[in-house]
């Protein structure tokens, strides 16, 4: 199979973890990593792994633009806002792991096919990647009036960017629950827990759904979990889905407890919240790669965008 060549923009923890995942991919091949800090460990590791490297950031990367088709941007939101138009002008497809959200939100298995042809896609948030697919799974069994998630992550896995703008997490994730998950209303909560040893990322997902067959709901949820596990092996339900009558209304309350353990490629295993972002990014890249090989990553104007 012809491998699609990928560039990694950003040589920090996320970019480095992403590199190891891309090395394992059958359909993608990382060819170059761009950073701005010459002594960064990420660049050293990239060189070791046989990637070309540049310390001139986006400019350095674009000088070698014949060596890749896809660009994973693992820098920062403000940096990505500058990168996005430059990558577009160079005809490169950007998969944005930052909160910049220049392009549409995508969650693999749920809505990528609705954004075929986009020059830039955004990965929502770690909480979104961990919970939106399961809200969508509920939605395919029954209308979801309300979805709420609580993401609890180890303090050590929350960087300064997340901390200085924690509302970005809650707002973005809530929007993802609605727009992509299909809930009429969404609410997201994030809790940082400093316990040592650091806790694994956990997510509690509540759905208030229309009266429906509990077996069908359970089946839809469990099938989705199995499909997520194909690209995030450490993703699991901590308990069977809890499906109860919602007091006072003809509705059901669904409660799901999800734990995400990272693969430990470069990021520590407890940081499932970061791992699910790099895993989802690779998955999105692979899906885009299929289209590129088939020549179908073109915008079809006749179809309504999701």
């Amino acid at each position: 199979m012809e491998q699609i060549r990928a560039a990694i923009l950003g040589s920090g923890n996320i970019g480095t973890d992403l590199m190891y995942k891309l090395k394992r991919s059958h359909s993608l091949r990382p060819t170059i990593m761009a950073g701005i800090i010459p002594e960064s460990e990420g660049l050293a590791r990239a060189r070791q792994q046989g990637l070309a490297i540049t310390t001139d950031g986006i400019e350095g990367l674009l000088k070698q633009k014949d060596s890749f088709e896809l660009v994973f941007d693992a820098t920062t939101a403000s940096a990505h806002k500058q990168h996005a138009p430059m990558l577009r002008a160079a005809g490169k497809i950007a998969i944005d792991l930052t909160p910049a959200a220049v392009g549409p939100y995508v969650v693999p298995l749920v809505n990528l096919e609705g954004h075929v042809g986009e020059p830039n896609v955004n990965l929502v948030s770690c909480g979104g990647q961990a919970t939106v697919p399961l809200v969508s799974a509920m939605r395919s069994a029954s209308p979801v009036e309300y979805a709420e998630i609580v993401a609890t992550i180890a303090s050590k896995s929350a960087g300064p960017g997340t901390r200085q703008n924690i509302d970005e997490f809650t707002d973005t994730t809530a929007r993802g629950l609605q727009r992509i998950g299909g809930a009429s209303k969404g609410k997201a909560i994030i809790v940082l827990n400093p316990a040592e040893p650091p806790i694994l990322m956990r997510n509690t997902i509540y759905g208030i759904v229309e009266e429906s067959d509990p077996e069908e709901l359970r089946k839809s949820i469990e099938e989705m979990v199995a499909r997520i596990q194909e690209y995030v092996p450490g993703y699991r339900l901590r308990a069977k889905p809890l499906i109860e009558d919602f007091p006072g209304r003809q509705q059901k309350k669904v409660t799901l407890y999800v734990e995400v353990e990272g693969a430990g490629d470069y990021l520590p295993q407890y940081a499932g919240n970061l791992d699910i972002m790099t895993s989802a990014a690779v998955k999105v890249g692979e899906e885009i790669g299929k289209h590129l090989r088939a020549g179908t990553w073109k915008r079809d104007r006749s179809e309504a965008r999701l």
């Binding site: 709420e148 400093p194 316990a195």
Partner: protein
């Protein structure tokens, strides 16, 4: 004779007390309580969901009436005092804070876990930019060393807070541990220092007085002690004690007693008391707001709420993690069932 020291009291009956009523306050009740507190001379009257603005959720319990209606109700009756709100970054957002400001809130309490003050930067800065007075709260203060509290308090000071509170969310602190924390904070920052207590070990008033002796001048309290866990420092008791010790609070003792007896107590669904579960919380150092959620989950799955709370303590759960209580109760029930069913048990 030296000048009398004044202590600023924030009454949180309509916020921390919301936990004890499972967030079922009505606008009419809020107006009645707020009017009484205002007329008794309370300086700051806090109204919010127990878990702060935006807390009305499956996780923490839905409010009976929207925050907007409750804040409007309080705002319309407060004449002398200041309306205060609570926000926990990660649960509430800047939009919630703006809404509260527009409805007349003048004081914002911004609370984080004792080690996570940096998640509050954007909310503290926003509140200050809107002209609000900001009180930073370091929750579950018993889980942080005095040095940690000093370090985190400095961050809140840098973001613009006017006051930082040692916040004993688990009611687990005792006078010596209150003293060292308040002292460390007072030595580290130039702004005001205060204390928020819970009564799980029956120490809330004593701890508040200890804090005042160490220089704390902002004290949170709740009329009738109505609050999470075994409740908070009872406002009317605190006012009496302050008066006897020669501190001034600006609060009329008879009037606040009347508010407690005639307005707040009739609203209480059950007496706030030190029961075995809430005592366990103080003893084990568990977030007081977990109490009713733990009771409910334990009942649903037929397990002892104390076992649930001990497991919560083992997992080092922090404020906001109410979502794990049902999972813990469910897991305990499964374990119990497995033990019941195991052959060794049958032989024994």
């Amino acid at each position: 004779m030296s000048e009398q020291i004044s202590v600023h009291i924030l009454d949180s009956t309509l916020r921390d007390g919301s936990h004890a009523l499972s967030h079922q306050f009505t606008a009419e009740q809020v107006a009645r309580v707020a009017r009484g507190l205002d007329q008794a001379g309370i300086e700051m009257i806090e109204v919010s969901h127990g878990d702060g603005l935006g807390g009305s959720t499956v996780t923490y319990g839905f409010s009976k009436q929207s925050e907007l209606e409750l804040l409007e109700a309080a705002s319309s009756v407060i004449e002398r005092g200041k309306l205060a709100v609570l926000l926990l970054p990660g649960i509430g957002t800047k939009d919630d804070l703006k809404m509260a400001r527009d409805l007349g809130a003048k004081v914002a309490q911004i609370a984080t876990h004792v080690t996570e003050a940096d998640v509050a930067q954007q909310h503290i800065e926003l509140a200050k930019s809107m002209g609000m007075e900001v009180v930073g709260m370091l929750m579950l203060s018993h889980m942080g060393s005095p040095e940690k509290i000093a370090e985190q308090g400095k961050l809140m000071e840098r973001y613009g807070a006017d006051v930082v509170l040692v916040t004993d969310s688990a009611g687990a602190l005792l006078p010596p541990t209150v003293r060292e924390r308040v002292r460390a904070l007072r030595d580290a920052i130039q702004i005001g220092v205060g204390f928020h207590g819970h009564n799980n070990l029956s120490m809330a008033v004593a701890n508040s007085i200890t804090a005042i002796e160490e220089g704390a001048r902002w004290i949170d309290a709740c009329t009738c002690g109505l609050g999470a866990g075994s409740g908070n420092t009872p406002t009317e008791v605190l006012v009496a004690v302050l008066d006897k010790l020669g501190y001034s609070s600006g609060i009329d003792l008879w009037k606040i007693m009347d508010v407690a007896e005639d307005i707040v107590r009739p609203l209480m669904q059950k007496p706030v008391r030190i029961g075995k579960a809430s005592l366990t919380m103080g003893y084990a150092g568990v977030y007081s707001s977990f109490l009713l959620h733990a009771d409910k989950a334990a009942q649903q799955f037929g397990v002892d709420p104390r076992d649930v709370l001990v497991e919560v303590g083992k997992r080092r759960a922090v404020g906001g993690q109410e979502d794990i209580l049902v999972e813990i109760a469910m897991t305990l029930a499964q374990k119990n069932a497995e033990v019941e069913a195991s052959p060794s048990r049958r032989l024994a």
